[in-house]
Symmetry: C3
């Protein structure tokens, strides 16, 4: 489905951020992940659990059940599923049939959020997770913000697209983190296995009032914006401020803000969005003031969330359309290609609705 | 469609409860029955009428028209349809063409509700209706409650399934009519042409506080729960209380409550639910107190209505799923089989959307 | 799609009313026309502009952008589109690729509304527009009302059907402009290229209280109702009142009200409705009092809008149905045939969803 080729939705054998730590407790919580209902809860020891959110007996949502000990009990006929997905008790019979089990999703809690692996559990390798220590998220010296969360009313790749093309900062976020210079500044594209990176050095930038006020910047600065997309749904980077006229090769930033975005498919046309940031303690003096106005920080994200919703609305009402690619999209198109390659590398899922979606319309002709 | 095979929806040549008596008056009322709009009203003599709810001229709902004498007049161009469906007047022309008529549904008012026959009118035999006198509903000595009504946001068979597997009493209704002993008690299955029956004798049952308070039961009791499913949509049975240690073969109940449920397909994914009860006057002394708390009686039904809605929600969002049948489902699966056989025994309906639904997904493979 | 043959939606190479003049200003406004999003705005000189409402870069609605000078700027990445649809600026690159343009819809502002041509721009001939001077709309001596507007929750031809069969006046509008005599009065049908006309002379008519009060009519009158349908979406006519017993060939009306309705497909199942009226100044004395009660004039239209919504609701819930044509439909069926012929005369549109709709069900058999 758009913006991928017909029938392609999302790679399953990958890590995605599923929830913030604080969202998962002893009460079961349902959340759709890659178009499947998943139930989240914690064991008595506090370990987070993610199971298929639908009881295989009669289809009642386990998210509407209750947690007992380390298990979730279906609210309809009382089937009890342990944290590994095995059914350990059926009130109406003594023997539990082997088929009475639900899928247990590999789930790793790291820092203030948790990562889920929707595909084959045996392929779930924690070594494939981003290095949270290197990112600064688990470094106690860094100043972190707990992740924010939005349900976005648009397919996940629209949000990936958004983050892969930062020229929108100058328009959609013109009043906040934007500024005409971002779109006009040459982008450096880097690429590696499973990731693409965009770097911009903006010399002598006149920042917006919002940046001035919220980040304590005075006068013109040099600014480096980097964002790395680790397909299929994680973006990390930095927004660094230097004295104007600095040498990019040697300068130390006055302020070094690390940016983290996680994008997870919820349904075919909806996604989860987690965002956070951290500040390098070496730039603490300036960062102490940041942000002066939390409400305006929320405004940036709301602008993106609304934009994705608007694009999805037109896709739903008027169908797919013929994209005109720009130079600025080279990076985004490579990002899309990474995700598409990940999908194609997996065996087709039986009954995967997302992989049987409407054909992508190309110029004037409906592709079959 | 689930839980039936692909393309199977509901048998048409059967009686279904369509409305409570009090719902139908001189003002026309629209209600969907087996995915068709039907208009209900009463003649001047008070006889209930059910006609195709859509004017065959330009498709305006007759439920938005008005009743004149014994006829309903379309609110758009004034076509007048008599109680037999024949058009008797067209304001813009003197002659009524023979095709200008609507289907008149056979409709029988019995006790406080009315039964409709959605199929071929000439096959509608009142002898096929349940015997309301034998059920206690039309016996003036019995203490009856007027039927309650809910629109349930789920396909009708989910509600039939619910009533065919009473092990859910111990879980979904744990605080009201439930109790752990129902699910654990052996079920006796009986079967006849067009019906299946489930009987449970629960010895020395510790009833819930709700049963104690609302039914005036003190201490432990023996309890017999029977429910008969007369396919495709009527359930009747009893909930009887005996002194603990009674002999099932000879004991007389302290309290004999008769239970009546009627389930009628509304649309493909919505149904009508009518429920009532009656108490044997021979057990009047105890039943006099019942129910102490009508609000909590409503709570039981709301638990079922909500559960069906939750299952339908997941079916809609995540598609069909692989059912794991339990021992307790033997009875329910026989009940489903009755309905499915009734559908298959009928000629396919031209343009019957319900009989061209999505394929049922079995384990790992989409059935064709 | 109903009421046309399967796959037929609407002719594109035709003029339709798109908006009232007052609706279009310097802020961009989105409106769906023939199932496509269109953005409307005015240039600095005040000229109205209609462009494809979706940015071809990443699908963001231009209606959510902003107008700068004579251009609209996309709110996402800042692409700037001139009034002719040409992209004149892309913030992130110096050269604009030739494909970066949006369709500019021919748009003609006449009187208080504007006409759009959804099809091939080179075929848009203003000579095909109705003659507004002859209609009285641009004649300064006539007393006009600014057009009213409704979004109707039904496919456009249901509203055309409504206006093509005025026998509904006696029923749906029985309390306002109706009266039993309209439906019973013989209709004169006239026809020409692209239009059909219905004329009724109602002798010695007893008008409703509403007509009496709002139009200053005393006692019985002769009344002539004429409505011409200029396919695919414009209706004009008159409602004339004469002294009772007048000679139709020679009489001068006491009151001559001109009626104008414009019907424009919005989506497949929704349409735009514009309505206005004008009074011949030669009948000024009586018309001075008209209307006494603007609220009740709105009531007439609300009755139609609600009726179309009800018909569409049943089409959506219960599917198409078998129409029984009446004598009064001869005129309406010819009107439909005009529209259908206009659709068939056009080449099929690539990806035109409306032209691949559900088959029309005929008597007992689903047409293929």
């Amino acid at each position: 489905m758009y913006p991928f080729a017909a029938g392609l939705y999302a790679p399953r054998n990958r890590w995605y951020v599923a929830a913030r730590s604080a969202e998962v407790g002893r009460a079961p919580m349902e959340r759709f992940i890659l178009n499947e209902p998943v139930v989240f809860y914690r064991t008595e020891a506090g370990d987070p659990v993610a199971l298929d959110g639908r009881c295989p007996h009669r289809g009642y949502p386990l998210g509407k059940g209750r947690v007992e000990g380390d298990a979730v009990v279906c609210g309809y006929h009382g089937l009890r599923f342990e944290a590994d997905g095995r059914c350990s008790h059926i009130p109406s019979q003594a023997i539990v049939p082997p088929k009475a089990r639900v899928k247990a999703y590999p789930l790793v809690e790291l820092w203030d959020w948790m990562w889920i692996w929707p595909g084959e559990p045996e392929l779930a390798d924690p070594a494939l997770l981003p290095d949270h220590q290197a990112l600064g998220l688990t470094d106690p010296n860094w100043i972190k913000r707990p992740p924010l969360y939005w349900t976005v009313e648009g397919r996940y790749q629209l949000l990936n697209d958004n983050l892969l093309d930062l020229t929108h900062l100058s328009v959609l976020h013109a009043d906040t983190i934007g500024g005409g210079d971002v779109a006009a500044t040459e982008e450096r594209h880097e690429e590696g296995p499973g990731w693409v990176r965009s770097v911009r050095w903006i010399s002598d930038a006149t920042v917006t009032d919002w940046v001035r006020k919220s980040r304590g910047i005075e006068g013109a600065v040099d600014r480096e914006i980097m964002l790395t997309f680790a397909a299929p749904g994680f973006h990390f980077g930095h927004d660094r401020y230097y004295p104007a006229g600095s040498d990019p090769a040697t300068a130390a930033p006055m302020l070094d803000i690390r940016i983290f975005h996680a994008v997870t498919p919820a349904t075919l046309t909806r996604c989860h969005y987690f965002a956070s940031s951290a500040v390098d303690p070496a730039t603490f003096e300036l960062s102490r003031k940041y942000p002066a106005d939390p409400a305006s920080a929320l405004k940036i994200f709301t602008e993106d969330v609304d934009a994705i919703g608007e694009i999805e609305r037109l896709l739903g009402q008027a169908g797919e359309f013929d994209e005109v690619p720009l130079r600025a999209d080279v990076h985004a198109l490579r990002g899309r290609r990474l995700v598409e390659a990940m999908i194609r590398a997996e065996p087709p899922q039986a009954g995967d609705a997302g992989n049987a979606a409407a054909p992508h319309r190309t110029h004037g002709v409906a592709a079959t």
